[in-house]
Symmetry: C2
Subunit: 308 residues, 2 copies
């Protein structure tokens, strides 16, 4: 249910408009590809939340089954991801800025001193469990303090983030939060996840710069996709890609005791879901579909060059 709300938040707020697009060249051209290329980032979310998620994601990164991934800095396994990052300096790792803690038996708090970001914290002392609660309660200046702290913590551990995005879409849920997200991304000269939508409100567009790279589409399995439709869903995503830059967001993990416990009572984005995502992205079928549809895989670090 939480993630259904997230899906609503993402649909509502991810955006941009022709205004920003009004540059001489498409992103594909700026990257040296033909103007009508179909570029795709295959992106694994939620690194550091669990060892099971880390091992599945590292394996997919190593196999080039995903091009990129992003990290939840407040989680206890961050050091494991930092160690991987040091051993794989070419791995395309961004930060999955985390302002929610959604699981039933496993919770995390902020990186910042908790009394400096009191609006981010629920009555049990952890980050809010749901996007809608976070959006309702958190003060933009405290969200800004926390996302800066998350970036600084990652950098201190030797991670050089290639991009920013937002766990459960919290930073897409209100214009004031989106403004903070873009402002911090600009300061750190990092590309950030944002998706073109028609008729984006002027308030949102006002914070963007001409250099910003806005994706044309994002695809992610949702709870409406049944387990037996998984491969069809992704096959259709690939088949329906249009010229432009798209991101396919996946959630990788092994369906093991740790991840079953983390995702207890939450089949949406649960451990079986993450195993299905892992199985699909590492399948020859997926590789073949990408080839047959002339999809060019790109990374956030490619886009990073465009914003600097």
């Amino acid at each position: 249910m939480r993630y259904r709300m997230l899906a609503a938040a993402v649909l509502f707020v991810l955006f941009t408009s022709e205004h920003v697009r009004a540059q001489n060249k498409t992103i594909a051209e700026r990257l040296g590809y033909p103007a009508d290329s179909k570029l795709l980032i295959i992106h694994a979310d939620d690194l550091a939340v669990a060892h099971s998620v880390d091992t599945a994601s590292f394996d997919a990164l190593n196999k080039n089954a995903v091009t990129s991934a992003s990290i939840m800095v407040p989680c206890s396994w961050l050091t494991e991801v930092a160690s991987y990052a040091k051993e794989h300096p070419d791995a395309d790792l961004g930060l999955h800025l985390t302002l929610t803690s959604e699981w039933k038996m496993y919770r995390v708090g902020p990186v910042s001193p908790s009394d400096k970001v009191a609006s981010l914290i629920d009555p049990s002392g952890y980050l809010w469990a749901e996007t809608v609660l976070a959006a309702r309660n958190l003060k933009p200046e405290e969200a800004e303090r926390e996302i800066r702290a998350q970036i600084e913590r990652a950098v201190a551990l030797g991670i050089h983030p290639t991009h920013l995005d937002s766990h459960m879409g919290v930073l897409f849920s209100k214009p004031e939060l989106f403004a903070v997200y873009v402002k911090v991304a600009h300061e750190y000269k990092l590309p950030f996840l944002a998706v073109r939508i028609p008729n984006a409100p002027a308030q949102l567009l006002a914070v963007l710069s001409e250099k910003d790279v806005i994706l044309d589409s994002v695809a992610m399995a949702s709870p409406t996709v049944h387990a037996n439709e998984w491969r069809d869903f992704y096959a259709n995503v690939v088949k329906n890609l249009k010229p432009g830059v798209a991101e396919m967001i996946v959630h990788l993990g092994h369906d093991d005791t740790e991840l079953q416990a983390v995702t207890l009572d939450h089949p949406d984005f649960g451990s079986a879901w993450r195993q299905r995502d892992y199985d699909f992205v590492t399948s020859p079928e997926f590789k073949k579909a990408l080839e047959e549809n002339h999809v060019i895989l790109v990374k956030w670090k490619d886009l990073k060059k465009l914003v600097n």
Copy 2:
């Protein structure tokens, strides 16, 4: 190596003297047993550090294979333990006050606002990795703030602690820290782990009250015990129990992928170690040894009645 230092710290500081013992009755008598009874607490440490540790410890508690356990409040699985505590109101659960974060790939920070307990935090932003580093760096007033915060966090999540002890012996490592530990335990009217030693320094004894329950001995497997000597080690502990109150500290877990990752490169107190401890405490052999040696199992909640 870290734990070898812990062992040294424990040997050095756990204590008390005849001064405190000078009451009319032994603890056994105060609990209604004959004066020369051999009372034993079988205690599982480190709950909440990992799901693997939690499930093994819950199982041992449910089987009465251990009598008591204590919880690491700063760890992400605290909510899992709080849920168990609510479903098992008779479970004897204390707090394993945590001022160190010793694992390589999995780290935790304080419960308090980090800028209020800066001396507790290492350069990577987490609690110090080793007892000796924590003891060297942390300010007693900040340790006090943090242990109070850990108690308050546990209580807020519905845990009613029966006792206090100290992860990796940090609170036994210096008289100033021991004083804070005892002071807070007195305020919360909780018994706390401390062990009788001959010739305890007056500085340590000065903080104790007449009501405090001081154990006569503590036994714990150390890295000097080889895997194939495990059962002999514990069999000897049971056989050599003397009249008085003793605690056997065990570290339970399953030797699975999660716990192997938490305890990476650290066989001492690692996942195989914890599996051995689990296998031993749940064995018929252990039960039989306790019976044959006329050991009476007691809980911290029994001792709690004596301090109130």
